[in-house]
């Protein structure tokens, strides 16, 4: 597509169409699965069908003789280092053997790899491999894994606890409270489900060099992990991420399949490829969320918050890694957008016989928002206050910023009331309340619910606030910019070229973004944690500015003028006040390369590169309001509206921002209403494909009403904060609260997610006390504490 020439600066803030689209809408996009690599073999993995067991002999004899089979390897055949989960956090006793050794710890644990000439031959042979596994008791539930008599996943440990910390106890935290509401929330395990599962091709080259094409969010991180697993030098590993079919966090993880395939490729001296199937993906790709939370909020009768006490225990899965510290991000965001006087927070992580937990869109922050926003609604209900009003009463005020929260987050900037007021007005909040009242009075069986979620989140978190970037001018008048971020659908090619275009004063189509290749891009932290524009974008922005500065100097030399007299315009560089002579970028780049542009006459390519470091994370915020209808006879929830006001600082491309909001909201709604990873009592996954793990379709979702407030941040020159995860974080509590609001007049104060028709129906029937058995299933733990107090017959239940 073509973009009209814009003068410097004017392109910022415009919905510039994506330059990525053409190849993706013509079917020409090269994803890892169709990356043509000559002579590549195909791999398939033999996985444990048992959640927890002792691994005996693995019979591979038949497989080795099958047609097309080149090799079958088990742990004994491949020298692979056990991988530390997270050095300094996860105990070494919990290191991960990349191929199972001695034990299997979750369904899907890798027992063997089969390599064959075709994928079909590899699958045929894999079916004949028989691992002898003696089952052990499995534990898939967080609380069960913490119990004294819990089966232990790892030898040399005394419990399944992986990590934990807290703020320390706060004496008399609720002394000034009129009411203390208590609840226990399950923040259910979710699967990321990028539409493209994992995929990799590894090609061994000369002198031990390995080239990976991988569906990853973090090429440099993957390179380093592969080097560690394989015991090779990082310089000998090249990782290229071609088009990547979605990531959402899980593709920031370096999969053990990749290391195993690399070792196989090394041994066989041939390229090996693997396209993960969806059923493998649901077992192997890291899951997200998975917390149990015990929460208490003390409030005064006028709605003033007094203190929050909470414990969040996260499921780290079978091989604890980054998931072991995600509950610490829950603690970091525990104060939310509120002026809370005291917080007593404890977090822990525990290993279970389930798929390993990692980052999934939000990663620790949605759990914080969910925890706060649910308990606040319960408090509002308890003291009879409007949910939006209790929030407004406690919002941190703009003049309090910047501030360090009680749990150590350095909030940069925010205007919470502004976002909340915008959401309230867009939703027509008062009219909705009136409509709800009318329906209740008329006994309408389709109940209306209105839910609010105010959030703050941290973007470029965990020290990910720095990034590499470069800008280069070529003698043919084109430019190359690079960043260490790695797009997988976000539109960085468009956004970053838009930025560079505005600084360089040249049309976007003259600029090419190079990313996602560790050999071409010096370093990078990848794309995760909503960090890319504010770090990688800023690095390109700043490198482009330095390139302009260099161009001015060259122009001054060529025009025999002072640098400060050089004007930069869309036409090029000229001397101020002397309009007739202008030197183009192409001429300047040529002069740089041939040396004529410099005093010393020594030519070199015209290129600026730098490492931008923001110094801290940024904190986007906003308010969402959801409107739902709940059929009181079936429990079916239909979301009618979703209003989102998200503040991600200064907006570069509103079209891309809206796209991120929409996608994020869809995933957030889906946690509230649809998705949950489940296991049976033996640890067998019961949500292992897309028929049983239900992500929403277009028919399930409403049209979203998204808008933005723009509060700048001083942490980068663009004034941008992240937008990738805001939608997910703000929407879940808004929808959850809306559903509870719809049925709150029945005495229901909480139902755990996902709010499926069955779950809601059980809560309604339980709360009405119509069926003791259902009542038992619904509460009190499940349906919230208020039921036991408010429902007359609950004592018998």
């Amino acid at each position: 597509m073509s973009v009209t020439t814009h003068s410097g600066g004017s392109i910022l803030g415009h919905p510039v169409k994506r330059t990525e689209d053409r190849e993706l809408i013509t079917g020409a996009g090269v994803y890892t699965g169709n990356m043509p690599v000559e002579g590549a073999l195909h791999a398939f993995f033999v996985r444990s069908p048992i959640a927890h067991g002792t691994l005996g002999d693995i019979d591979v004899d038949e497989a080795k003789g099958m047609p097309g089979v080149v090799a079958v390897y088990t742990a004994a055949d491949l020298e692979l280092n056990d991988r530390p989960g997270l050095p300094g956090v996860v105990p070494e006793t919990m290191n991960r053997p990349l191929l199972a050794k001695g034990k299997v710890r979750h369904v899907g644990d890798i027992v063997a790899i089969v390599v064959a000439e075709t994928a079909s031959e590899a699958i045929d042979a894999a079916e004949t491999v028989f691992p002898d596994i003696e089952p052990l008791p499995a534990v898939t539930d967080i609380e069960a894994a913490m119990a004294d008599d819990a089966p232990l996943l790892f030898e040399g440990t005394e419990s399944n606890m992986v990590a934990g910390a807290g703020t320390g106890e706060v004496e008399g935290i609720f002394d000034d409270a009129d009411v203390v509401v208590k609840a226990k929330f399950h923040n259910q395990k979710l699967a990321g489900v990028p539409m493209e599962p994992n995929a990799v091709v590894v090609e061994p080259g000369e002198n031990g060099k390995l080239t990976f094409w991988a569906s990853t969010q973090t090429p440099h991180g993957l390179r380093d992990q592969m080097a560690g697993d394989l015991g090779v030098d990082g310089e000998d590993v090249r990782v290229i991420a071609p088009r990547v079919g979605g990531g959402f966090g899980p593709k920031a993880f370096a999969y053990s399949e990749y290391s195993i395939i690399a070792r196989a490729a090394q041994k066989l001296g041939r390229p090996v490829r693997w396209n993960e199937t969806r059923s493998e993906n649901m077992l192997s790709m890291v899951h997200g969320r998975a917390q149990v939370q015990w929460v208490e909020l003390g409030v005064k009768n006028d709605g003033t918050f007094v203190g929050l006490r909470a414990t969040a225990v996260g499921d780290a899965g079978a091989y604890p890694a980054i998931g072991a510290v995600l509950p610490s991000l829950t603690q970091l965001l525990a104060q939310g957008v509120y002026d809370l006087p005291a917080i007593d927070f404890t977090w822990k992580a525990v290993a279970t016989n389930t798929t390993t937990v990692g980052a999934y869109r939000g990663a620790g922050r949605p759990e914080a928002t969910q925890l706060l926003e649910r308990i606040i609604d319960m408090a509002a209900d308890e003291i009879g206050m409007d949910p939006l009003e209790i929030r407004r009463k406690n919002y941190l005020q703009p003049e309090q910023y910047p501030l360090t929260t009680l749990t150590g987050a350095n909030y940069d900037t925010a205007e919470h009331e502004k976002a909340a007021d915008a959401a309230k007005e867009a939703a027509g909040y008062d009219a909705l309340l009136a409509e709800q009242k009318r329906r209740r009075e008329s006994g309408d069986r389709i109940a209306l619910g209105i839910g609010v979620g105010s959030y703050v989140e941290v973007t470029a978190p965990l020290g990910l606030d720095g990034e590499y970037g470069s800008a280069q001018a070529h003698p043919d008048g084109t430019f190359t910019v690079m960043a260490g971020t790695s797009a997988h659908g976000q539109g960085h090619e468009t956004a970053f070229c838009q930025l560079a275009s505005s600084v360089l004063g040249v049309p976007m189509e003259k600029i090419k973004l190079v990313q996602s290749d560790t050999e071409l891009v010096r370093s990078g932290a990848g794309t995760l944690g909503s960090r890319s524009l504010q770090t990688g974008g800023t690095a390109i922005h700043n490198a482009s500015q330095e390139l302009v500065a260099e161009a001015r100097e060259i122009a001054a030399h060529l025009l025999e003028a002072a640098v400060e007299d050089i004007d930069h315009s869309d036409d090029g560089f000229g001397v101020r006040g002397i309009g007739d002579k202008v030197i183009t970028w192409a001429q300047i780049a040529q002069a740089a390369e041939d040396g004529s542009g410099y005093e010393d006459g020594r030519g070199h390519e015209m290129r600026q590169e730098l490492d931008f470091k923001a110094g801290d994370s940024t904190f986007p915020f906003g308010t969402h309001i959801a409107v739902v209808e709940v059929d009181l006879d079936t429990g079916f929830v239909k979301q009618r509206r979703h209003v989102a006001v998200d503040d991600c600082g200064i907006i570069l491309n509103p079209m891309l921002v809206a796209g991120q909001q929409h996608g994020g909201i869809a995933q957030g709604i889906s946690q509230a209403l649809y998705e949950r990873v489940t296991y049976d009592e033996d640890g067998n996954p019961t949500s292992g494909n897309l028929a049983s793990y239900t992500i929403p379709t277009a028919a399930d979702l409403p049209s979203f009403e998204v808008s933005n407030t723009e509060t700048t941040t001083p942490l980068n020159p663009i004034g941008a904060k992240g937008i990738g995860e805001s939608g997910t974080i703000g929407s879940t509590p808004a929808v959850h609260n809306a559903v509870i609001d719809a049925v709150s007049h029945l005495g229901i104060h909480h139902i755990d997610m996902p709010l499926t028709p069955e779950t809601v129906w059980r809560a309604i029937h339980g709360a009405n006390g119509s069926d003791p058995a259902t009542r038992q299933q619904a509460g009190p733990e499940y349906a919230g504490k208020a039921i036991t107090e408010d429902t007359p017959d609950s004592a018998q239940a």
């Binding site: 597509m1 169409k17 994506r18 990525e20 689209d21 053409r22 993706l24 809408i25 013509t26 079917g27 020409a28 996009g29 090269v30 994803y31 699965g33 169709n34 079909s120 489900v193 990028p194 539409m195 493209e196 599962p197 088009r243 990547v244 079919g245 979605g246 990531g247 959402f248 396209n275 199937t277 969806r278 059923s279 997988h488 659908g489 976000q490 539109g491 079209m655 891309l656 809206a658 796209g659 929409h662 996608g663 994020g664 909201i665 869809a666 995933q667 494909n689 897309l690 028929a691 992500i695 379709t697 277009a698 028919a699 399930d700 979702l701 049209s703 979203f704 939608g727």
Partner: protein, 177 residues
Amino acid sequence: MSDKQRITVTVNDQEHDLLVEPRTLALDLLRDELRLTGTHAGCEQGVCGACTILVDGKITRACLMFAVQLDGCSVETVESLGSPDGTMHPIQRAFSENHGLQCGFCTPGMLMVTQELLRREPRPDAETARAAIAGNHCRCTGYQHIVASVCAAGRAMSEAEHQHVDRQDVEHQGARA
């Protein structure tokens, strides 16, 4: 495995005479044999719709069909859209102009569903568009911009059709005059 079977199949207006294994999926035939890799595998069980193609004009999951079943059929894949000179199909243009894609993995399936929809329902409203794409999963967009793209494509194609008819009318009248 068992003996290969001979099939004749027309793919994007090109006829192919092929020998295929009975168990080869239509999806793998397209991707691996014919190198038409725009059709994607997302779930291998007919849920996600990433592999959607049109077989004799009907929406079909390429992952749920064997290649031998295509014998004598006419297949359209995403590669059939647009002109060889690089001109984009109005559906493709609408998806690009309305930000109807992000990672692009579900996009070929969405485009083919839209193609089928607009042939029978040239001017769908948002609700019709939502229903039509409800068999296809997208994890990036939340569907809103896809729905807008489908509707916009319908409008653009209908208007182009009207202009074409108008032009014919003018030419017709001109010939008479």
